[in-house]
């Protein structure tokens, strides 16, 4: 008799280039994340990091014998936007990571939020990453810069994707939001 495959539950980790998506997944995944990184050739982008995700990253957390949580990281560069569409399908929720030290990426983050809100109106949390760095904008300022109004119901949380407790907090915030929508 063939073994029954666990059911997949999907959360999408989106965000602009170099926001820390791969690191976020790596911090909590129970498996070594599967990545599709390629070396960066653009000199401007190379200043920030040497490789980038071109299709997706994924990490996995086993919930029980029948269910697994998959964390799918989207590519950050806008030329790979078509992957957002593919990865967003069937997602339980979305976490949009923002590099709090780099305001020039804030507008791109808002574009990503707009994309997911219009295509997949599932619960969404913004994680203002790199709060451990000295020039990080506060989560409150990031929220204003992203034009997130209270009515939108998008919580913004400050995190460092290197810190497991912070990543857990962001995931739990999203799951609580999902719970509210289920019970509300």
């Amino acid at each position: 008799m063939s073994e029954k495959k666990p059911k997949k539950i999907k959360i999408v980790i989106a965000g602009p280039f170099a926001a820390g998506k791969t690191e976020f997944i790596r911090t909590v995944s129970e498996i070594e994340p599967v990545t599709t990184e390629r070396k960066i050739t653009d000199p401007k982008e190379k200043e920030k990091k040497s490789s980038t995700t071109v299709a997706m990253d994924f990490g996995k957390i086993k919930i029980d014998d029948e269910h697994e949580l998959y964390l799918f990281g989207t590519p950050g560069q806008s030329r790979f936007n078509f992957m957002w569409e593919i990865l967003g399908e069937g997602a339980l929720g979305v976490i949009v990571l923002v590099d709090s030290t780099d305001p020039k990426t804030f507008h791109e983050a808002r574009r990503i939020i707009n994309f997911f809100q219009s295509r997949y109106p599932v619960p969404l949390v913004v994680a203002a990453n790199k709060q451990d760095l000295p020039n990080a904008w506060s989560p409150e300022d990031v929220a204003v810069a992203l034009d997130i109004s209270e009515e939108e119901g998008i919580p913004v949380i400050g995190i460092s994707a290197k810190n497991k407790d912070d990543v857990k907090k962001a995931l739990l915030l999203l799951l609580e939001l999902i719970k509210t929508q289920l019970t509300g």
Binding site: I9, L92, R111, Q117, D141, G153
Partner: protein, 230 residues
Amino acid sequence: MTLTGDLKSFSFADILQVLHADKKSGVLIVEWKDMTVAYYIKDGELVLARPVDKVFRIYVDRDFEKLLEKLRLRESSLAETVKKFFLSRLDNREGIFSFTQGFIRYPETVPVFYPAEYLIMESARRLTLEETERKISDELLVFEKAPDYEEKVRKARLTDEEQKVLNLIDGKNTVKDILEKSGLDKLTLYRTLYGLLSIGAIRRKRKKAPKKPSISLDLLAKLIEKIKKL
């Protein structure tokens, strides 16, 4: 707390939006190639603009009233400094900015000649189409007026064209609809929407009601417990 960035990717409209929303007080320094200007911000309002030859000079004068005495500025001339060193420099995007919160001791009241809403709209009027598309990223976006929009647009002193756009914002018209109904060019419309959004007079309207999550409560509870134990 410090907010830093460059004007090419984060315009004056964006900076003032953040400072004004939270009614921050402090000093915003912009370093251009030809000059450095200190902008004194009290409760989110720009009250004085002052060019400096060296950045450290800003940190020498922490008392705002004493600074005005030193500069021999009367309150009535504060507006002139904003005109000369802020409004006239809106087209120059080669600057790097940093905002330091607190630090300056302001008196309880300082006159505001140019409200933040006005300065934000003025900044938005200078944006390129590419820059406006950072916020107005989709022709199908729908905006609605904020509950307190009247006071905000009064301070912003809208032009007739901008007023026309505002009148068409009703929570139903898409950006594309407004473009067709107003007869305005795309750049004017996008600049107006950008400005109105930045001053908080309008906000995005969610197109769809949130989808009911496709997970049972039991499984969700298991998932939450699992994440907690990681």
